[in-house]
């Protein structure tokens, strides 16, 4: 694990010595704060469901900014030649980088906890529903970051990586809408299973379903495995 830890520390140092981490965290907290205030004061809601829904979409737009540089900059800066010739297995590189990106996600989540203060001060929200929403948000974030890392691994260009990630994540988010146009129950079921947003909706309604947990973890595992596999294959 030493190698993974060293890569992780390098990633964190790189994030926080550039404006990216600050930018992403600040934009997310401003955005989610706005939606929270809107839902509470204008929507009259004393729950987080509406805010979580908005946070999910906000996350989809910011994940490509976090993930695009993960491997693509290593190729363009020539540092991939160092990273891939050090005593590091591909999975150690992928895991170290992924955990670095997950740290940004955890900072975002920690920042949104401030929203809970007025919620508990002035209302009686359901703690278990909020907890389920955060679990869903974390799992959604893991899957999105893993997909972003995969596209950053297979291209040398950060912008291309970001665009591919955004396109695929938005596709997974909105694929659920296609259910309306399908007559076949099997296809409807498949589309429903592949939808990031439908699983997420379960969580923000307080339902932590095994199906949803497994779905996000499987997407994460597949994307990370493909990233490590690509690094091995490209030799």
């Amino acid at each position: 694990m030493n190698g993974t830890g060293a890569v992780y520390q390098k990633e964190i140092a790189t994030y926080f010595r550039s404006p990216i981490a600050y930018y992403v965290v600040a934009v997310f907290l401003l955005g989610s704060g706005y939606f929270f205030l809107y839902n509470i004061f204008l929507g009259g809601e004393t729950a987080m469901a509406g805010t979580f829904q908005n946070m999910g979409i906000l996350l989809l737009t910011l994940v490509p900014v976090i993930s695009m540089r993960l491997m693509a900059t290593e190729y363009s800066a020539g540092t991939a030649e160092l990273l891939l010739t050090l005593p590091l297995a591909p999975w150690q590189i992928v895991l170290g980088k992924f955990l670095g990106a997950v740290t940004i996600l955890l900072l975002i989540i920690a920042g949104t906890l401030v929203d809970l203060v007025p919620l508990y001060l002035f209302g009686t929200p359901e703690t278990t529903t909020i907890l389920a929403g955060y679990i869903g948000f974390l799992l959604l974030g893991l899957a999105c970051l893993a997909v972003g890392l995969l596209f950053s691994t297979v291209t040398h260009n950060q912008i291309v990586a970001a665009l591919l990630t955004a396109a695929v994540l938005l596709g997974f988010w909105f694929v659920g809408h296609l259910q309306t146009f399908q007559a076949s129950p099997a296809v409807r079921s498949l589309i429903g299973y592949l939808s990031f947003s439908l699983h997420f909706t379960d969580f923000i309604q307080g339902l932590v379903r095994t199906e949803g947990v497994v779905f996000y973890l499987v997407v994460t595992a597949i994307a990370l495995t493909l990233s490590a596999g690509y690094l091995q294959w490209r030799r």
């Binding site: 830890g5 520390q9 790189t14 020539g78 005593p87 030799r235």
Partner: protein, 323 residues
């Protein structure tokens, strides 16, 4: 050559689609040996270095480093290799000590020894003054030396250096050569360079590669002897050209004679005799000339490594290994 090979390439080829960039390459580097890798741009040097370092895999053939097969044991072998790629692989956002700390950790340097290890390579590469500087602020020379420093971290058994002195000033080049020479005394070093004098100065053997093929590998002296045609004896004589040619051609060992009038000195002829690399004919030539004409100069000119290199890469692209 003393010890067993630390780096060994056996019939190694690398293809990208239909294009073969390295053809059937075989050579070894032993412990305590610095081997220079010479070739024009696009000859396949960097591809070969990358295969040895484990960055890319050979399409066919076998690369081993300290007995480990780089196709299957590259991660294990990487602990034994210090590699400086052609473009120093630096993280601009980090400062120098954070960068070296990262490389040291990945190379498995014990936590307690990391600071000492960084000091050791920083001293060897003269980086003490910039340890706290961010890498993006460093000059080209410092970037190159930092690339070398990371390669030296963790006491590797093998050093692979792709153009290690590129971008350095003459003083830095001298210091870097000393570092490499000291390391090469008891380790294996493969050094890619365009500077032929560098190869002559610090390498025990020199490998010449072009179009992905190994044209020759031998000591600089061995290469000079192998290229017989380029040994010349040069004279300046006041004489009549045809009689002089006849006299010189009668000397045993002289293969060809080229006579030109000296533009700067009327009546004096500039003569170039082609002789075998092992023929010591200067005295016989002097005897044949001195009795009859005024001999102003007689000098044997051995081929420079530059001549040898150019001859190999321009005239003998299909030649095989000579040693």
């Amino acid at each position: 050559m003393s010890a067993s090979p630390v780096i060994a390439l056996e019939s190694v080829s690398k293809r990208y689609g239909a294009r073969t960039v390295v053809h059937d390459l075989s050579f070894t580097v032993a412990q305590g040996e610095i081997v220079g890798f010479l070739g024009p741009n696009g000859a396949g040097k960097t591809t070969t270095m990358r295969m040895i370092a484990g960055f890319i895999a050979a399409t066919s053939g076998r690369v081993t480093v300290a007995g480990r097969d780089m196709a299957t044991e590259n991660v294990d072998a990487a602990r034994l290799i210090g590699y400086l790629p052609e473009r120093p692989p630096l993280y601009d956002a980090l400062d120098v000590s954070a960068y070296l700390r990262f490389v040291a950790k990945v190379k498995g340097v014990r936590r307690a020894a990391i600071t000492g290890e960084i000091e050791r390579v920083a001293t060897a590469c003269r980086l003490e003054a910039v340890l706290d500087d961010e890498i993006f602020k460093l000059s080209k020379g410092y970037r190159q030396r930092l690339g070398l420093a990371q390669a030296l971290l963790g006491a590797p058994e093998v050093l692979l250096l792709d153009e290690p002195t590129a971008g350095l000033d003459p003083g830095q080049i001298q210091e870097t050569r000393e570092v490499i020479r000291a390391f090469g005394a008891d380790h294996a070093v493969l050094l890619s360079t365009h500077i032929l004098a560098e190869a002559t100065l610090i390498c025990r053997r020199v490998a010449i590669i072009n179009h992905g093929r190994l044209l020759a590998i031998d000591s600089p002296t061995g290469l000079q002897n192998a290229v017989e045609q380029t040994n010349r004896v040069v004279l300046r004589v006041t004489a009549e050209a045809s009689a002089l040619r006849e006299a010189l051609m009668s000397v045993d060992g002289v293969r060809a004679v080229d006579i030109r009038t000296d533009a700067a000195d009327a009546g004096v002829l500039s003569v170039e005799c082609q002789v075998g690399a092992h023929d010591r004919v200067e005295a016989a030539i002097a005897r044949a000339v001195a009795g009859r004409w005024d001999l102003h100069q007689l000098e044997r000119r051995q081929p420079t490594l530059e001549n040898i290199f150019l001859r190999y890469v321009q005239e003998r692209p299909e030649r095989g290994e000579v040693a």
